[in-house]
């Protein structure tokens, strides 16, 4: 009897390990319904809580002021958190066109210095 109970316990534990995310009973939210109709099922297997922790850590590492981190994490949907998690160093970060212009200027300056071009007016 005792061993049977232990087998049952182990079985339940194993089953529970296999499905770490037990869905909450209730309605399917609109965002989830739209995404279910447009995306593959695998999205649901990525744990949103893990993604949230990862994004929070990345915000801190990338210099977001500590008092702003929580508000910025809270503003993101689960799908956005999954997009950001682990990718915040690679995703395009729109920043500055001026940097590019600076590089072009630098190239021109070098070409000028080595005498390939002559477009900058010489001082008298």
């Amino acid at each position: 009897m005792g061993s049977r109970f232990i087998v049952w316990l182990v079985c339940m534990a194993v089953l529970n390990l296999g499905s770490p995310m037990v869905a909450q009973a209730g309605i399917v939210g609109t965002l989830q319904a739209v995404q279910a109709s447009t995306r593959a099922a695998d999205l649901a297997t990525v744990d949103a809580a893990l993604a949230r922790d990862e994004v929070r850590a990345q915000f801190v590492a990338l210099g977001v002021a500590p008092e702003q981190v929580e508000a910025r994490v809270a503003a993101l949907t689960d799908a956005e958190l999954r997009t950001l998690a682990g990718q915040m160093a690679e995703l395009p970060a729109g920043g500055d066109a001026l940097a590019v212009i600076g590089i072009v200027f630098l190239v021109l300056l070098i070409l000028e210095a080595v005498g390939v071009i002559d477009i900058f007016k010489k001082f008298p």
Binding site: G26, T30, L62, A75, T77, M88, A93, G94, A97
Partner: protein, 325 residues
Amino acid sequence: MMVVARARAAALAVIGCALAGCAASPPVLPALVPQGLPPQVELDGTPFFAQQRYQCGPAALATVLAASGVEITADELVSEVYLPGRRGSLQPELVAATRSRGRVPYVLPPETGALLAAVAGGEPVLVLQQLGAGPWPGWHYAVLVGYDAARDRVVLRSGLEPRKETTAADFLASWDRGGRWALVALQPGTIPPQADLERYLEAAAGLEAAGRPQDAAPAYAAAARHWPDAALPRLALANLAYASGDLVTAERGYRDAIRLDPGSVAARNNRAEALNRMGCPAAARREIEAARDLAVGGPLAREVEATAREIPPAPVADRDGCPAH
């Protein structure tokens, strides 16, 4: 001497092309402007926020938000969307900040026609451009405010330039390299021209998920009017009713959604949940069985099973006034 001169000419040609775009290429815009749109549009009234160093994200976002009637400056957005470690802003955060200001962050389909149609419809468009290459990608946000098919040019609010004109070919190439990403900030209730139902509802549902159901509601209602045969807007409105505790309205909305799309697992699951809470377990069981058959192997299978577990088993009967099917 000849070699140096030739090298000089070649270098000048390359630099000239890179800086100005090759002017000799044929016009691209006339063929790209969709039927029925005016050949020339410029949204003169769009405000301009000059960007601080690396902060084109806050500046461009402030531009589209202010154009949609939000009182805002670029500085206010820095703490919400600027990422110091990347010297820039990431797209999901621009979307999130748009929601935080009560606007629907609609990401356009990645087509030139959609871009031009939005501008012609009066919405300035926030775009991601890639202006550099290789180790200097030069990611940049700007706002498209106009186009002129005859002159083959577009007009942007960009960086420090309140009115930057560039050739359509150059702009479209930089937008293409940037992944064809474009965002408009819509007042809830405005449906953009040529809107895509799923894209629009996903943007609106983000407002609800971010705790702004009062902003999501007019967007859902507008979607239900714009796409009267679509089930998703009905489901969305019913979900709002459910969340506010109005089970009768919710159940009716789910029934509408199921009538429009009998294959909607979400609508059937949610109707079963509403029926169960209304004291109609038998009707709920019938609905959840239908949902179960449709959900097998799909993304909502787990949710359906969770709902099914909540419904009392067969001997428990419906109270009076429950729907017969």
